[in-house]
Symmetry: C2
Subunit: 419 residues, 2 copies
């Protein structure tokens, strides 16, 4: 079974927004074991959308369209799809009352006439009620029954829940069986090195399949199995997960798709009832920013310091003046003293520090742009890691944050093993 | 003249990466006054890429392809495009020696055989030498001369400089005349409100054109004119810029495409020789993170405080215990005291603070998730703004950061006007 995506929206063609829906839907479809061979973006234009729909119907079984379902005259996705599939539209009373409900909850009592356009539904459509917006999603079938056309609203906050809660079960039924995935999340091993180390497993894979996904500093492996029931699927996946764990044990921080690296760290700290503090120079708060992104972090993280100037490093973190003079602000000595100083200032068991040269200026032959030191203090122990990152200022800072988290986790585990 | 984009790469179809190249190229093409009507993504598959190329050639004048130019057997973009256009490949000695140079600079002396694949060039191609990678870009012409096919490497760090430095001048020549854009960057006015307020200018626009682009908290207006020379183009644009300035003067923070909101603030502070300090609760360092993103910020910004817990707010920023008890951590009083305390602690003239409820927990009827207070201290004056943001934790935090910057700029200007 093959699928393709059609994104509808002139704002995408103008570069006004980045098409994150396409990436989201692609990943989800791959997770369902459905191959996506084409992705097309067209503007809110009937003629060109018709052209895109006809080509797609000629070569794929499932079409997933996003965008263009809103109330304005620009929004023509549903009308065009219905026309191409030759399905007449009718006013659906259930959809109409769900739109009324939506507005009532938001205490809007005057509903403009164009909103009822969204209650028009192509004959035979399956309606995907949308709790987060007024435009419902729709699943249409071609008259011959061999093609499925799924229409989803464009805003990601509406599209994602509709897809996960209503489209996934529908597609699972279509694919005849259960599809089950697990994501193995690793840190500190490059994508090509990882692929190399599991090349025997990647070769000739059919069921389960293994797909690597690279993020900054991380590589995720998604293992997907297809089976008649969930138990069977889990049974197929288990040996793969075990083998990967055996090969990369220390690099795996989670086997839960929704758990981030920072969440895995917060969990470790919560279990030990330890406090964490950050001390940042070149990252300027981005590291703490990721940590505070974890809901309920307050029992572990209370404060962080941004010490961009040497003066701030001395005054707030009590980094030695001599250390700064002798070794410089970007040195393993300074990274260490920053972490120790932060731990003392915050009375925390654990501290992580970052100091580096993010560029574009400030580099020397001896200390080039991209040189970053990460310090880690855990109770009485100190750890420092030297890194060389490439790219522009933003990329160097992002790599620094990712690696600070990765190093912190590694130190926490190492400390535990020695204890 | 119409164009379309074809992105080549199975990793995009798997959702492994978000297609930011498409958004970048779309925006650039719009800026050149060239309409993009279709964007297609296909995998590294000859049959399907051929299909995409043929449809695109049948309906558009210019095709911009990205990705699939690398050295591996998977990379088939150039070979497929040459086949479709019926252009034989030859080994180009100049490209070969530029690849040798590239490796030599990186002190790699053993070049694998597959790299020479990248020196194969379709007959008649214009070569776009690539200083950031080994695969050159290429501009091909159909034998009839009516179609232009531009091939660019996939990595954004290679694609962007090639496009800006070599493709833009080429397309400008093709469009017969000069295309000149200016971007008017506004903050604090919604996209629909702004569009409404300039609807008279947006209506029937042909030359110059005006296109609004919304970012978090910001709306950018790009004004693009086509003329026989640059002077003429600037003359066409000026009255539009003047009129927009007249209508939204205070909301405009820059007329320079490359200047960010934080950069415009840093500039104001540099001019006044003032220091800035940040005090963040729910944003947890993201605000300072954006400020430190500006190269050369060190003469203005030396330190920042992340005070997530009440204890940290009291201890580091000397927020009154009574204030926290009586009004709570999320209140205008606390926001004000955070800013004042940070200014004193850092001996800075200017301080900006953020305190709010980013959720998902912690909201009450009186203080719901999304409630955020922004404080601003400038010398002897204090300003506080109350905001209500929607969305998840991440979105609320991003909106908080954007609005803290917008509010800070507004306060700096207001202070100046009163002085």
């Amino acid at each position: 079974m093959t699928a393709e995506l059609i994104s509808v929206g002139t704002e995408i063609l103008l570069g006004n927004i980045v098409n994150t829906n396409a990436a989201y839907l692609s990943e989800k479809m791959a997770g369902l074991g459905i191959s996506v061979y084409f992705e097309t973006t067209v503007g809110d234009n009937e003629e060109r959308l018709t052209m895109a729909l006809k080509s797609a119907l000629s070569r794929s079984d499932i079409l997933v369209l996003s965008g263009g379902l809103g109330p304005t005259a620009d929004d023509i996705t549903k009308e065009t799809a219905a026309k191409v599939l030759d399905l007449p539209l009718y006013l659906d009373e259930n959809v109409k009352s769900s739109i009324e409900d939506f507005f009532e909850k938001r205490m809007i009592h005057k509903i403009t006439e164009n909103n009822w356009k969204q209650a028009m539904v192509p004959e035979g459509a399956q309606i995907l009620f949308n709790p987060n917006g007024t435009a419902p999603g729709l699943i249409l079938k071609s008259k011959e029954g061999d093609k499925t056309v799924i229409l989803l609203p464009g805003p990601p906050g509406e599209l994602k829940p509709l897809f996960e809660e209503q489209v996934v079960p529908y597609l699972e039924k279509m694919t005849d069986g259960v599809i089950y995935s697990r994501t193995i999340k690793t840190f500190g091993i490059g994508e090509s090195m990882l692929e190399d180390a599991i090349s025997d497993m990647l070769k000739n894979q059919t069921n389960p399949t293994i797909a690597p996904y690279a993020k900054t500093g991380e590589v995720h492996l998604r293992v997907t199995a297809k089976a008649s029931d969930i138990q069977e699927a889990k049974k197929l996946i288990q040996p793969i997960c075990d083998e990967v764990s055996k090969r990369f044990g220390k690099n795996i921080y989670s086997m839960d798709e929704n758990e981030t690296l920072e969440e895995s760290i917060i969990k470790i700290l919560q279990n030990r009832e330890w406090k964490l503090v950050t001390a940042e120079s070149c990252t300027g708060g981005l590291l703490a920013g990721r940590i505070v992104g974890v809901p309920g972090v307050s029992d572990v993280f209370g404060r962080g310091f941004i010490t961009y100037s040497n003066r701030a490093k001395r005054k707030i973190l009590e980094v030695n003046k001599k250390t700064l003079e002798e070794f410089g602000a970007v040195s393993s000595q300074t990274a260490k003293e920053m972490a120790v100083g932060a731990a003392i200032a915050a009375q925390a068991e654990v501290a992580v520090s970052v100091t580096g040269i993010a560029g574009p200026g400030g580099g020397t032959e001896e200390k080039p742009v991209g040189l970053v030191y990460i310090g880690c203090h855990i109770k009485e122990k100190n750890y420092v890691k030297k890194c060389m990152f490439s790219g522009n200022r933003q990329k160097i800072r992002e790599s620094s944050v990712a690696n600070a988290l990765g190093f912190l986790r590694q130190c926490l585990i190492e400390y535990d093993e020695l204890a």
